[in-house]
Symmetry: C2
Subunit: 244 residues, 2 copies
């Protein structure tokens, strides 16, 4: 067992090649998670185990376990028929989600404000310029990249709060609001330009000053935007037609 001997004598190499290999189940779970946060599935869409298994080139086994996990996180919904779908959007649910996000992400950024290192601050400052880059070549909106960049920015901050309890809850909330957000972003592009970078800049300034109160307020403004926008849109739509 030369490999084990090498790991024992060289703990650094052991860390570089961690013993825990990635399972198929984890890959499927991450894949579905990414798709949900990015809003690649649309609300009320029904997912089948065999369908996903074919799409992900694996058997049904890893898929059903991943689906079960996503259901417990309320990222998916189990219908009484035993079929699973991505939860539909309702006004009540949106308000509920936004309130929870304000509460928890607000607390996380307040904690982060007092704990972020200069290095971490400069990391999120660098991210700001990426928005400018993206705006420079704004011939076509790259929604995927917007979502990814926005997510990276927020979680870089949340990670700094140092709470192993809050962060998974925030991930769960993003998972649940993913479908709504994607719809809202598409609605944004119809309604003209909206400057996410401006909101993020305000957040960075507050964090640089270690001003927890300002940071929280700026964050609330940032995450509220898509929700209030989508809410207005849905209410306008329901006025025009009686049906949803």
């Amino acid at each position: 067992m030369q490999k084990a001997a090498a790991e024992k004598s060289d703990p650094i190499a052991a860390q570089l090649a961690p013993v825990g290999r990635e399972t198929v189940q984890d890959r499927v779970y991450s894949e579905l998670r990414r798709a949900l946060i990015g809003g690649l599935f649309e609300p009320s869409q029904v997912l089948t185990i065999r369908g996903l298994a074919d799409a992900l080139m694996t058997s049904t086994m890893p898929v059903r376990e991943a689906l079960g996990r996503l259901i417990t996180e309320k990222a998916l919904e189990a219908l009484p028929n035993r079929s699973v779908r991505v939860p539909p959007i309702t006004l009540e649910r949106m308000d509920d989600l936004l309130r929870a996000r304000i509460l928890i992400e607000g607390e996380a950024i307040a904690l982060a404000a007092t704990r972020m290192t200069p290095k971490q601050i400069s990391t999120i400052e660098t991210m700001l310029s990426e928005w400018d880059e993206m705006r420079a070549l704004k011939q076509k909106k790259d929604v995927d990249r917007e979502v990814t960049l926005n997510q990276a920015f927020h979680f870089e901050i949340y990670r700094a709060c140092g709470s192993a309890v809050l962060i998974p809850m925030i991930e769960s909330l993003w998972l649940q609001s993913g479908p709504c957000i994607r719809v809202a972003i598409y609605a944004f592009s119809d309604a003209g330009e909206v400057d996410t970078a401006h909101y993020h800049r305000t957040i960075v300034k507050a964090l640089a000053r270690q001003d927890a109160r300002e940071a929280r307020e700026a964050l609330v403004a940032d995450i509220s935007r898509p929700f209030v926008f989508l809410r207005n849109k849905l209410e306008a739509d329901s006025k025009k037609g009686t049906s949803v």
Copy 2:
């Protein structure tokens, strides 16, 4: 298909006998959940799929899916060996859990304070007297019943907050702090009597007055107790012996 016809013509009966039967997986999941919240497993205990399957008289399939779900909720922990255990108790984790619980359960009870109906208030008032009953025959402390009653009291309140997002998060937090709580309750009984009913009575009074602020403060006092108690105990223990 007379059954389908009956359901279609009688939607009430359909609700009384919901089509979704309980699966074995759900039963296993609930069982493990209950055991964890009740603290029947001790911290750092390793659980095996086949062992649980035998204990629950089923095959490995429902167990592995239930374990996967509990791992995503951070109620259990996946070690790099691929074995799963109930997470060990650390001071950092306890503080982290308590802060999150104060934040979220505090918000839930504040919402509930403005929404609870007189009927709901009287329900939790009834629960208070059960504590007195239990204290009457206090020859032996019935920890299981204490845990169950405490849980029923709190969730009767949380349900009234009307948030489909906050309640699952609270359940997840209870799942995570279950093992700690059990340890703390046993420590309580060593340290003499502690009057849970007194704290609950204060909460009920505040809720009856629809005083959200008072209710939140009383709740914080209630849920903080086992944590600060256990914290003191752990710190005292670590002073006596260098090892944990």
